[in-house]
């Protein structure tokens, strides 16, 4: 099958949360309960075991493109639907000791619910803080990229429900091209801080969920330069080996002296 991807565009999102609802309904994800965060219209908070799409609401002291604000304090209201990034080099997949987390034929990262034993190592290995353990079921959950729907030739539920096509679904290279064109278009229209979030330069090696955002990635809680933790294996094991050798030496000396 073709390698698929999401392109989620903050400049088109209207914050309706249809993607959150569609995701919950299609995937039968339990409710999160009612909590008032006090953060704008976002009472979802963040992605987690029972939240696979999360619409962010950002209030920023900047003007939107070439908008004439008529005030000294420019202001813009942005929305963006966050989702599992489906990394090219995925921290969760590398960390999983059971082989429950696999790469599918569409390029997505999938947690096999019948194999996961809930050790929780993927939770601390995700550089984006996406995957989490459901403490009632006992295993790890995250976005499945609607693999079940994709196999039947359908779009993921969130992309299908999106009324503005802020969430686009398609072949990854097409979407990368489309993202570039979109940035050019936005730049021409005065959105000088429009950028693509798709960390290809770092060890993550790009993601299968890309974003068009305005401003800094930090404002969306996107790590500016995410790294897959396993790049540190060598330095960590080297330190362990040296320390272990020292321990052996100390014990030898203790018994010989």
């Amino acid at each position: 099958m073709a390698i698929s991807a999401f392109l989620t565009d903050a400049t088109v999102c209207i914050g309706c949360k249809a993607c959150e609802v569609a995701c919950k309904e299609w995937n039968h994800i339990p409710a999160d309960g009612f909590t008032f965060t006090g953060n704008s219209y976002d009472n979802t908070g963040s992605l987690g075991a029972s939240t696979w799409r999360h619409v962010m609401f950002l209030e920023q002291p900047a003007q939107l493109g070439s908008q004439i604000t008529g005030t000294e304090d420019p202001f813009r209201w942005l929305f963006l639907s966050d989702v599992c990034k489906h990394c090219e080099n995925a921290g969760c997949l590398e960390a999983c000791p059971t082989g429950a987390i696999v790469r599918t034929d569409v390029g997505s990262v999938f947690v096999q619910p019948d194999v996961c034993n809930g050790c929780g190592y993927c939770v601390v290995s995700c550089p984006f803080g996406v995957v989490d353990k459901n403490h009632e079921v006992g295993t790890a959950f995250k976005c499945t990229f609607c693999y079940d729907r994709q196999r039947e030739g359908l779009k993921p539920a969130c992309a299908k429900a999106c009324p503005t096509e802020s969430i686009r679904f398609g072949e990854i290279n097409d979407l990368r091209e489309r993202a570039q064109l979109r940035i050019q278009e936005l730049q021409q229209r005065g959105y000088t801080d429009a950028r693509i979030y798709d960390p290809k330069e770092s060890s993550v090696g790009g993601t299968h969920a890309m974003f068009v955002i305005l401003g800094q990635p930090e404002a969306y809680n996107f790590p500016p330069a995410p790294e897959v933790p396993t790049i540190h294996l060598k330095s960590a094991w080297s330190a362990a080996l040296i320390s272990a050798a020292m321990v052996f030496l100390v014990v030898c000396l203790a018994f010989v002296l």
Binding site: N39, D73, E94, Y121, V124, G129, K133
Partner: protein, 340 residues
Amino acid sequence: MAEKTQATEAQLDALREEAARTGKVQGPGIVPVSSPFPQPASASSYNGHPVLKPPTWTWQIPLYFFVGGVAGTSAVIALLAHLTGNAELTRAALWVSFAGALIAPPLLIADLGRPARFLNMLRVFKLQSAMSVGAWTLVAFSSAVGLAVVCRELILAGYGNGFVLLIEWVAEVLGAASGLILASYTAVLLGVTAIPVWSENRTLLPAVFLAGGLGSAAPVLELLGFRLPATHLIGIVASTVETILAITIEVRGRYVDRPLREGTVGWVTRAGGVLAGPVSLLLRIFWAQNSGARQAAALCFIAGALITRYAWIAAGRVSSRDPQALFQIQRPDGDLTASR
């Protein structure tokens, strides 16, 4: 009543005027910060919300780290004791290792979300997953020290021959080798994650965990009655290393290490470091001949090493909640003054 209404009307007029003039309204109780009346939020993170997920591990895991550290390094002591001809100490150290190997798996299994599926850990072997390497190491270690204990007891019961002795030697060497991995892989496990305070201390953590393991294995044997010069020397070295590590964390003063220095977790970290470091070091140096002091030093170190493991897991939890700790590593030149 009429007066009050009038006052409120005036307030409303003032509010309206302020809103029209400035585009926003100040004042507590009128507008909650950044909602629902749109107000610019800090761009340094998404409303100060954590980027990462905190570790889900329960109280069994730090205890497992401790048990694995003691059992693993005890196997090294057993090997050296055997090589230097101390049969009694060899037997005791092997039993400590074996006891650890028996306690460790239940602790690990209890933490799993689906304990019935614990054998899934042995479905695959993944070198890039420290958790997988650890699971297999535990299997290898348990087998080796189990075999060594059986051989040792056979020899003591008079069933020994050359073959049994050879098997014991092989098992002891394998036990010591896998024991060193068992006592140190847990540091790699934490170091190779996205959690800033663990990841940035990945070269320090093996020393923390191995010194704590070895420094606790010797006191355990001392408390079992083996008050030898060798265990004393091991205790002194381990306490010295603990002291140096504790000072390192304090003087480096890095932002990412804040959970280890500040708040409740910071004080717990210090308590562990002081008990295992200076306190047991001073007791060992100045009251070396006093058996009570030796016992106190042993107990202080064990308590300190155990507390240190809980502190590191707790520090990871605190660290995961701070988006700036993560952003600062990835963008060291970034402006962090606006952090919440």
